[in-house]
């Protein structure tokens, strides 16, 4: 059973098999065109595979939006070292719940995407790093892998292509930081998940000091479609430099929250109306977190834009991981900022000081302001402290904590002021009423 009703307006590419009975079974997958892209790719020159991915304008769906084909081209194919494919299934950016569905409803699409990656960079082992909380998915993914071996889609000389590929699942154990690709690599090596200095990039020295191709679940899951229908067809679904479709996880104050697949460049307000059914309770839209809690928030007046990486960047935010959180007029933005900061302070790995100290101090200051114990100088100080973290931390977690905070304190300054001098949170009673 699907978690939410699909919407007829969706452009179903990666999710095309969602809802088919037993869609996770290898036989169902093969019946619906599965593993044909692998067979096609096995006859292509590796450079041609990478070219198709480049042409598709697929960009990393984990959050950074880096061009996938380019990332693939960085892996030194001719290196004498073993090369590895690693799939980042550590989905933990608040607001994001799409990779779960891709693994639950179409695990073989992911395996096929990783195999095609293996053909492209001459890797013969793939690991799927799944967050520990998704234990049921680890079990499902293990079954899918076993089924693929049994049906001859994994192992040695797959379907007579001469290509060998093994695939394994690795469980995480609860650490947001392990979604950062170099921290994930340390984690898969059995260490604490702390980020590494770059360079060397994972493409050159990744897992176990070997060249590693590391992509998000959704990124790998897009690959079979790209190879089957051609990179150009995928690119044409989106906008220039923003190829294809993506899964958007709509949550918060909408009538129909859910995960929906839309082409890149879809208008944001239209998406909230047509897919989300608008803001619930007939309330007004106050703000939108466009792509996971690390993104700067957009005011309602800034949301009349297209949802693609470049437009969002121009608007001062990010498309991120596709976790779109809709916030209504009765929400206290100080509380939202506080909750977001509590998360980053909890998840900071402690490796570098600006993040470890910065997130903790910011959490304390935001708590103080929300409690009504703040003073006027706290407001600029929150902004200043956040800006001091930007670009000065080892990995992107510091930026992830700073960016939403800066945007909230700048765009909703009057809400911070309304909390000063012992005044109670002006939204508290409204919130209680809404829940009653």
């Amino acid at each position: 059973m699907l978690y939410n009703e699909p919407n007829p307006l969706e452009t179903k590419v990666l999710t095309r098999r969602f809802g088919i009975p037993n869609s996770a079974d290898v036989a169902t997958y093969v019946e619906h065109g599965g593993y044909q892209a692998f067979l096609k790719a096995a006859k292509m020159a590796p450079e041609k595979i990478v070219d198709e991915v480049k042409i598709s304008n697929l960009r990393g769906r984990g959050g950074a939006g880096f061009p996938t084909g380019l990332k693939w081209s960085f892996v030194p194919r001719t290196s004498p070292k073993p090369k590895y494919i690693i799939c980042n299934a550590d989905e933990s950016e608040p607001g994001t719940c799409k990779d779960r569905l891709l693994m639950e409803y179409d695990p073989h699409q992911l395996i096929e995407g990783m195999m095609i990656g293996g053909l492209a960079v001459d890797a013969h082992k793939g690991y799927i790093y799944i967050r520990g909380e998704y234990r049921y998915l680890i079990t499902m993914m293990e079954k899918a892998i076993d089924d693929a071996y049994a049906a001859g889609w994994l192992g040695s000389n797959i379907q007579g292509t001469g290509f060998d590929f093994d695939c394994y699942v690795h469980t995480g154990a609860g650490a947001y930081e392990c979604g950062e690709e170099t921290a994930l690599l340390d984690s898969i090596e059995g260490k604490r998940g702390v980020p590494r200095m770059k360079p060397p990039f994972p493409a050159v020295a990744g897992a176990w000091a070997s060249p590693t191709l590391l992509n998000n679940v959704e990124t790998f899951s897009a690959v079979p479609s790209i190879i089957r229908d051609g990179g150009a067809a995928f690119a044409a679904l989106g906008t220039p430099k923003n190829g294809g479709t993506r899964l958007v996880c709509l949550s918060g104050h909408v009538n129909r929250p859910g995960v929906y697949e839309i082409p890149l460049g879809y208008p944001m307000l239209k998406f909230i109306e047509e897919f989300g059914g608008g803001v619930r309770g007939g309330k007004k839209l106050k703000a939108v977190i466009p792509g996971g809690s690390s993104c700067p928030v957009l005011l309602a007046s800034e949301c009349d834009i297209a949802m693609d990486y470049d437009t969002l960047a121009k608007a001062g935010s990010m498309l991120g991981s596709g976790g779109m959180v809709v916030i209504d007029e009765e929400t206290c933005m100080v509380k939202a900022a506080l909750r977001i900061m509590r998360f980053y302070a909890h998840e900071s790995c402690g490796w570098c000081i600006p993040c470890r100290e910065g997130t903790t101090w910011l959490r304390k200051m935001l708590q103080r302001v929300h409690n009504g114990q703040g003073i006027a100088s706290d407001i600029p100080l929150i902004g200043e402290l956040s800006k001091n973290m930007l670009g000065r931390t080892f990995c992107a977690l510091g930026d992830a904590a700073a960016m939403p905070t800066i945007s909230i304190v700048e765009k909703f300054r009057e809400e911070f002021e309304a909390h000063l001098d012992g005044r109670p949170c002006p939204f508290e009673h409204k919130h209680e009423m809404a829940l009653a």
Binding site: Y3, N4, P82, E91, S92, E93, P94, G95, T96, C97, D99, R100, K125, Y127, R131, G132, E133, Y134, R135, Y136, Y168, H170, T171, G172, A173, G174, A175, Y176, S187, I188, E189, G190, K191, R192, G193, W208, C249, L250, S251, G252, H253, P257, G258, V259, I289, S293, G323, V325, I327, T331, K335, A336, R339, I340, F343, H346, E347, C349, L435
Partner: protein, 160 residues
């Protein structure tokens, strides 16, 4: 230490799937699966995993201290994890957590006297579009209300 045949089989597989000489990679997965059987990450388990993976117990300790799902103290039989992160917060996750505290009579990371339940306020669990969400052990529950939570706890009690 002796484990169930299923866990032994998993351990055996885990020691094979990583490259030769890289068996340290199996430390976290071994701990994750073993603590389900043992009840928590005990001293004995740390040393056993260290021995099997060919690492120093200190190298196991350092990951135990890092990952939030590895517990050195036993949890309740049913570990109730309530998400209060942003998507859940907006639709009542915090109220749900407060309600769970009252219903179970315990605070964050505490265990009920009968050992049946433990409670934890957790970060985003990846159920944002079906919020508010909780997990009991590894099972997800979506669109949870205080009433649904009470019913679930009652049902789990009856299982005893």
């Amino acid at each position: 230490m002796t484990f169930s045949p299923e866990l032994e089989a998993r351990f055996e597989k885990l020691l094979k799937i990583y490259p030769e000489g890289r068996q340290r990679s199996a430390v976290v997965p071994m701990l994750m699966y073993a603590q389900d059987e043992v009840g928590s990450v005990t001293r004995e388990l740390v040393e056993e995993v260290a021995r099997r993976c060919g690492v120093n117990p200190l190298q196991v300790d350092e990951v135990v201290g890092y990952y939030s799902m590895l517990h050195t103290k036993p949890l309740g039989k049913h570990h109730v994890q309530v998400c209060t992160n942003i998507s859940c917060l907006l639709v009542g996750g915090e109220e749900l957590y407060e309600h769970a505290k009252k219903t179970l009579g315990v605070g964050n990371k505490e265990v009920t006297a009968d050992g049946l339940f433990s409670l934890e306020e957790v970060e985003c669990m990846g159920a944002c579009s079906w919020a508010p969400a909780i997990q009991v052990n590894y099972d997800f529950y979506h669109h949870v209300t205080p009433e649904k939570l009470d019913k679930l706890i009652q049902d789990l009690r009856k299982l005893q």
